[in-house]
């Protein structure tokens, strides 16, 4: 008889234990994700100090000959042209071939696909809460240039906030053509307000 009575009590306590453990685990996971998100995210509206002729960390989104899309590397404005160097990849846009330079802003989620999957795994909609904090603003640098045959190319880079305008200034100083002057670059492309 004690065994029959004791069984449900034991099961209930086990269930309580399991629920408590699950809750604690979920909270820990949520906190860990929030911590990671805060590490990744840059504070909005706090542009980094533009560097001089030294390289700027950038991501080549697409368009540069000989470099795969979404490759991270270093972007440098030199007298020969805009130079992008990544591990195992290198591309240059000659100054004389540049037809136009545009800058803009973009807001994106940090952490890539892996972090996205982790966020999806967070219970009780915690992933959505994390998404609210795990975004960053970046500058986009778009360059239109011509190849040797006169064919139009476009290359898009993302650089840390505040760096695109500085790079554009450097390129214009070196002789590149830009239809919109550096100083009066409008921020109409800024999607920050929508993000």
């Amino acid at each position: 008889m004690p065994n029959v009575r004791g069984k449900p009590r034991c099961c209930a306590s086990l269930l309580r234990c399991h629920r408590a453990a699950l809750g604690a685990l979920s909270s820990a996971l949520l906190l860990a994700c929030l911590f990671c998100a805060s590490l990744y995210a840059h504070p909005a509206g706090a542009p980094q100090a533009p560097t001089g002729t030294s390289g700027v960390s950038a991501t080549q989104v697409l368009g540069l000959e000989g470099v795969k899309p979404n490759v991270k590397g270093t972007l440098t404005a030199q007298s020969s042209g805009l130079d992008f160097t990544a591990s195992g990849a290198h591309g240059t846009v000659p100054i004389a071939s540049i037809q136009d330079i545009f800058t803009g802003q973009e807001s994106r989620q940090v952490g890539g696909t892996a972090f996205g999957i982790v966020k999806m795994g967070v219970p009780y909609g915690g992933g959505r809460v994390i998404s609210l904090f795990s975004h960053e603003k970046v500058d986009t640098l778009t360059i239109e240039y011509l190849d040797a045959n006169g064919g139009l190319h476009g290359v898009v880079f993302t650089v840390p906030l505040g760096q695109a305008e500085a790079l554009k200034g450097q390129l214009v100083t070196l002789g590149a053509h830009a239809s919109i002057p550096v100083a009066s670059q409008p921020q109409t492309q800024d999607s920050g307000g929508k993000q």
């Binding site: 545009f102 973009e106 807001s107 975004h135 045959n149 139009l152 476009g154 109409t188 999607s191």
Partner: protein, 184 residues
Amino acid sequence: MKPKRKLFSAVLAGIAAPALLLCAVNLAFISAGFAEEKMQTTAWAIQVEPVQAEEGQLPPDFSMATYENLITQLVKTDKFQQVFRKGDRQAEGVPNLLVLHMTLLKFDRGSQTKRAVTTVAGATKVKVNLKVATRDGNTVVEKDVQGTVRFFGENMKATYDLAKSIAGTLRDTSLPAPSTGVGQ
């Protein structure tokens, strides 16, 4: 046992031989079909023009991303002999050249964060009117095509989706056979 084994191998050979023959015939038909399709699809070359939009309607990064993605996707289709960029001098001497024009109809930038938080809101949409014409202005293809990011991915992914849709549209469209003098 021995006669049984012989019978078994004879039956096996009797089944396997026709099956192999059937496979070979099928393969021959399939490869002939591919060759025929390849011959049909390589008659035209195409030159891609960037998206035409009113000033401020389409950000330059989206415009260039659409242009570059489209060139990549068109090359992948193997539908055209050559894919030229705007202004490419090599295209001037090419017979049977089609020119691809895109006019922006709608652009909604959306938000990756909104998509991640709400799932249903914040979609990025780019809609263009696609027009493929010969040099002398005969329209071969005209269609409205849209690229969208609804759930996952950065806003720029809409340009990839648009390029893929345009390339798919052109791949599935049967182009007229180029005649002498057409498009010259």
